[in-house]
Symmetry: C2
């Protein structure tokens, strides 16, 4: 019955080759390098937009989930890398929030500044901090629209306790976007 | 392996009792009544937030998908009613956008004004128009935060062709929120 489909979301098989779930990652740059590696591999596998993400426990460095953009292969406009990472982290924890009382603080690392949808989702997912590599301006060069995000969007979220840091390993983040463009990747929703 | 879960999203069984997939619905009020009925039933079944949505083809009145809030039962902060409706519509169409060239215009009807995440998602989903019943102020009375949405958020989307109409059957929309509060429903992410 086409009107009542089942939506199933799983990591692409290749993701597992790039992830070590067991070893904590202490440094922020190394955590970002995982998000960037996933973004790059998503391009190289030709399966989706040039975006990757990873969620770590802030203090322990434990990897909780990852995400890659699955919009095109799964026919699902919601499945930006950050959204996949949120869903997978919550499924792993069996909780609708990563910010439950007594839970360790979680940080989202993403290869590109979040769009309006993903930025809104950070609040509901309960991450304490969001760190990105390439900026909105870098994405715009690729004609990816980031949606209605304004300076006061960040202020609104900061007032609710979220922290943000952008431009971490930015050159590497831009390089992934450029790689996608060079390979003629589809600019959906451009 | 808890670190690589499968996320599965399906309509709750009870949804099918309230839906007639075969008969087009011509009037906007009747389309909104479906979104409101789903919101109300989601409360009565005690399975999630007091929010419902439905996507129709604008001209034909064909029902394409519905959504109810599944955040709590599916441990997934992303699954607002609107997001579920987008995902299900795209799965039914086998496309990552409802706004493909030559496709009929689609309208999202939702029982409450969209939050920042869902508003951002409207652009990627490719709906032409968004209509809601209860407003952000009504939701705030229930202590549901709508996230960083500002007047210029709507202007940004309108400049990209989206149309918005709020407060349709607002009294009924508010009544569903009140029903949820009266039954002591959990105010997650309050």
């Amino acid at each position: 019955m086409t009107s009542a489909p089942l939506v199933q979301i799983a990591y692409p098989d290749w993701v597992h080759e790039h992830i070590d779930w067991q070893t904590p990652v202490a440094g922020e740059l190394d955590r970002m390098r995982l998000a960037l590696a996933l973004a790059r591999q998503n391009v190289l596998h030709g399966r989706g937009g040039p975006f990757g993400a990873a969620i770590f426990e802030a203090a322990s460095g434990r990897l909780v989930s990852v995400g890659v953009n699955l919009v095109v292969p799964l026919h699902n406009s919601v499945l930006h890398a950050e959204i996949v990472a949120f869903m997978m982290a919550e499924a792993a924890l069996g909780s609708f929030t990563l910010g439950a009382e007594g839970a360790p603080a979680h940080v989202l690392y993403t290869s590109c500044e979040p769009c309006a949808m993903c930025l809104g989702a950070t609040l509901w997912a309960g991450v304490a901090r969001v760190v990105w590599s390439a900026t909105r301006e870098d994405a715009r060069l690729l004609e990816f629209d980031e949606g209605p995000v304004f300076p006061q969007s960040y202020r609104y979220l900061q007032e609710r306790g979220l922290e943000f840091e952008g431009g971490v390993l930015r050159a590497e983040g831009r390089a992934v976007l450029q790689l996608y463009r060079d390979r003629g990747g589809i600019i959906y929703n451009g």
